[in-house]
């Protein structure tokens, strides 16, 4: 450290106001990250490639498709803000799907007259399984200090193993039609049911992060764990709850996806860990924790789905799509590094 902090603050002040369009773009970048830039580029490119792309029908379609990723990304965001990440979200979805489907089939058979009760209990069984996954992650990271990478990677394998063990790898079929009809394809006041769930989740998570102590504590824990501890924050509980909340949000997505495919599948959510992390990072959630906004993450998840939709319309093959998505994630992380360095002062 050779330049005094005072000097650096001054240097930043002067660098902060270069004025003009470049300065405005820089300000936008510092505030929101790369998302606005990516979004504009994607909209222009796809609008040029396909005339259908910007149609209301297509955009509604994208909104409906993005529900699952939105839910998972919200959970992923909580964990990222705490300074970790969750690679086990895919497993959570798969296990939720299998467990809720199996419970639902068994319950529906034993009480055929009470199909809605069976559906409720089935979904609760799924949430229970997710709770287990989340608790395991939370316990490992918060209590035993296992790195989030190893902990969630390990749990991801454990969960996938359990799901396969329970089903023997065979999809669980024979779900009551009411389940799929309502949670998968149903509409209330013309709005698809999954979209309603997503809206509810967005509102709840927004309130959680902006209007509750837990939210403020989560930002603080991710920003500086030691400082949070010295401010009287129960850091372990906060971390633990972040992983549990993440798993529960993923599991809501899991139930909705199960209803959509009308069977319990072990291969649901296969790529969602990558997609949700990409959605968050692109939306300006810092991989170092402490930074991230709910509304941006929703937009980020929407962007990823939009991208997939656009690539489909441009007839880009799914293999190439994987390459592009992975590259995009890395690119977003590089921009995140640049942004962090700019935020932390020029070096």
């Amino acid at each position: 450290m050779t330049v005094s902090e005072g000097d650096r603050a001054m240097a930043n002040q002067s660098a902060g106001k270069p004025g003009g369009a470049a300065g405005l773009l820089k300000e936008l970048f510092l505030r929101l990250g790369v998302l606005p830039f990516f979004l504009v580029v994607a909209l222009i490119v796809f609008a040029l490639v396909s005339t259908q792309f910007l149609s209301l029908q297509n955009l509604t379609n994208v909104a409906r498709q993005s529900v699952y990723l939105v839910l998972v990304s919200l959970g992923q965001m909580l964990v990222l803000i705490s300074g970790g990440f969750d690679l086990a979200v895919g497993t959570t979805i798969a296990l939720t799907s299998v467990v809720s489907a199996m419970a639902l089939v068994a319950l529906a058979a034993s009480m055929p007259d009470l199909v809605w009760v069976a559906i409720l209990l089935g979904a609760l069984a799924g949430f229970g399984a997710a709770l287990l996954i989340g608790s395991l992650n939370g316990l490992g990271v918060a209590q035993f200090g296992v790195s989030p990478f190893i902990m969630t990677l390990g749990v991801q394998s454990v969960g996938a193993g359990i799901a396969l063990f329970l089903t023997g790898g065979v999809p669980v079929s024979g779900l009551p039609v009411e389940f799929g009809n309502f949670f998968g394809f149903g509409r209330v006041f013309g709005v698809p049911v999954p979209v309603l769930f997503a809206i509810a989740a967005i509102v709840v998570v927004w309130l959680l992060m902006n209007r509750t102590r837990f939210g403020a504590h989560l930002y603080a824990v991710g920003g500086n764990l030691k400082a949070a501890n010295l401010s009287g924050v129960h850091t372990k509980r906060t971390l633990f709850l972040a992983y549990v909340a993440c798993a529960l949000l993923a599991s809501i997505a899991g139930v909705l996806m199960t209803a959509r495919v009308e069977s319990g599948e072990t291969n649901l959510g296969g790529t969602i860990a990558l997609e949700s992390i990409a959605a968050c990072v692109i939306a300006g959630v810092s991989l170092r924790g402490g930074i991230g906004r709910v509304e941006n993450v929703v937009l980020g998840a929407f962007f990823i789905t939009l991208l997939q939709n656009g690539m489909n319309m441009a007839q880009i093959g799914s293999y190439l799509q994987m390459i592009l998505l992975g590259s995009l994630l890395i690119l977003a992380v590089i921009f995140d590094q640049v942004r962090y360095r700019m935020l932390m002062g020029n070096r």
Partner: protein, 501 residues
């Protein structure tokens, strides 16, 4: 004979801001030359230029009377300038000899000649009288031993100028004495020593000349023998001591609000303290004396092996830190970046964190009301004198002084009974210091108990009503009022009368 180092008119600008302007500096062979000044005064920049890290914007540098340009640390090393920075540049996973030869490994054919390295390293270390086994891994060494390796590394490159940047900051007293012995020997051999330190009490033992820097300018170079500590502080700060430290009224009959009984912890060997309301308790001692660790142990930040801690009569021994703090304690950590602040969050949000528990911030449905939080944190911002524009800015972009004010602001979020300030003014300029001291005065005079732990001797001596001096994990003296003199304090820094080990 030409001086070893002669720097003339050195100016260095960073992004248009002058870190140094027109500084002259001379070092003779065998001279111990102390650089003295506040943080940000330009000491580090000056030695960075001499050791090849930065190039000066203007000015000339002569070594042995020959004008040179140093473009890298390696070039400086080749010219005989060895620097031991505060942050060591050792690779912890490598052995001592591998570190010493890093970047200049001798070769035998295409292979590294490890035997020559071992022998060369052993010879240098023996000549220096350090007694470190060269096959040990650096991560297994103590901080002092690592410093010795850094010094040995410099001498392996045939250093004739040795720059030491705050070398005693993390050494124990015994290690410090060894270092001073070494410095005396090196000086006798004609090595020039440049020494950066804040510890005035050390200067008598090592310095011949003292150069005082302030705001990037050289205020003057004075002889170490004929300059008093008071004069040095006044040179450094540019104002008289009486203007800086306020007179704090003391409450005589203050109740004991926190008591620490026979506490043992890492580096703490049996300490009992009563903290009283309406009084400023100063805690002084060298690094490693246990002055800070006893509080960290009491607050549960490091394990407590033996002892009892009570706050307002309630036993809190062994509780998690957060619960002890809830009993009415505010702890200001010594390292604001690492432990104190959320650097990427705004000053508002930093102050808001401890506000969350207050009943006033509760909105409908038990949710937190952002409007009320903002109102309260703005009021605190005014109280600690952080302007509204700075309150909105990410803390990382604020100056050290303002950051420290924000950290103080966190203490005003809740109405605590006990305020423990561990190094309250570290890395803070004089103007801000005076402001922080006024805040401490306000707190103490409001009847709170205040503890000030500090390595800055004038600071604790002037603020404290009662001063505890720590040495080797124990309290070596408790001084009050007029008996708080520099002589008294320094005497007890090195007391080891009660030391049986």
């Amino acid at each position: 004979m030409a001086p070893l180092v002669e720097m003339t008119g050195i100016t260095k600008e960073f992004a248009g801001v002058k870190a140094l302007s027109g500084v002259d500096f001379r070092l003779e062979p065998g001279e111990g030359h102390v650089l003295f000044g506040e943080n940000g005064a330009g000491k580090s920049t000056l030695i960075s230029i001499l050791s090849g890290v930065f190039r000066p914007t203007s000015g000339t540098l002569k070594i042995d009377g020959e004008q040179v340009e140093l473009n890298s640390v390696h070039e400086a090393a080749d010219r005989g300038i060895g620097t031991v920075f505060q942050e060591f540049s050792l690779v912890p996973t490598l052995c001592v000899f591998e570190n010493m030869y890093l970047g200049r490994e001798p070769r035998k054919g295409p292979f590294i000649d490890r035997r020559a390295m071992r022998e060369g390293a052993r010879r240098v270390i023996r000549d220096l009288g350090f007694g470190i086994e060269v096959n040990r891994r650096v991560s297994d060494l103590s901080r002092a031993e690592q410093q010795m390796v850094e010094i040995a590394k410099a001498f392996l490159a045939k250093a004739r100028v040795l720059i030491l940047d705050e070398p005693t900051a993390s050494l124990t007293e015994k290690e410090t004495r060894k270092l001073f012995d070494f410095i005396a020997r090196a000086k006798a051999d004609g090595v020039g020593i440049i020494y950066i330190s804040h510890r005035i009490q050390e200067f008598a033992q090592i310095a011949d000349q003292i150069s005082v820097l302030r705001d990037g300018r050289l205020i003057g170079t004075v002889s170490a023998r004929n300059t008093s500590e008071r004069e040095l502080v006044e040179l450094m700060t540019g104002r008289s001591i009486d203007q800086i430290y306020p007179e704090i009224a003391r409450r005589r009959d203050g109740a004991t609000v926190m008591s620490v009984r026979n506490v043992h912890s890492w580096g703490v060997r049996g300490v009992s303290i009563d903290v009283r309301a309406g009084e400023v308790l100063g805690v002084a001692g060298l690094v490693g004396s246990g002055k800070s660790r006893v509080w960290r142990g009491a607050l549960g930040l490091q394990p407590l092996t033996v002892g009892q801690v009570s706050v307002r009569g309630r036993d809190v021994t062994g509780l998690p830190t957060r619960k002890i703090l809830r009993e009415g304690v505010f702890y200001l950590p010594p390292d604001r970046k690492n432990e104190g602040l959320q650097m990427t969050a705004s000053a508002h949000d930093n102050i808001a964190l401890p506000l969350l528990d207050r009943a006033q911030v509760a909105g409908p449905l038990g949710l937190v009301s952002p409007g009320r939080i903002r109102q309260l944190s703005s009021r605190i911002g005014q109280r600690v004198d952080v302007s509204p524009t700075f309150m909105k800015r990410a803390v990382v972009n604020l100056s050290g002084g303002t950051q420290q004010k924000v950290l103080f602001g966190k203490g005003f979020a809740r109405d605590e009974d006990i305020y423990i300030f561990d190094e309250p003014t570290v890395g803070v300029d004089m103007g801000t210091r005076a402001a922080l001291y006024r805040l401490i005065k306000e707190i103490a005079e409001a009847g709170k108990a205040v503890v000030v732990i500090s390595s800055d001797l004038p600071e604790v001596m002037n603020l404290a009503h009662r001063l505890l001096v720590f040495s080797q994990g124990r309290i070596s003296a408790e001084l009050e009022g007029p008996s708080i003199t520099e002589e008294n304090v320094l005497k007890h820094f090195f007391t080891d009368a009660r030391d049986s080990a």
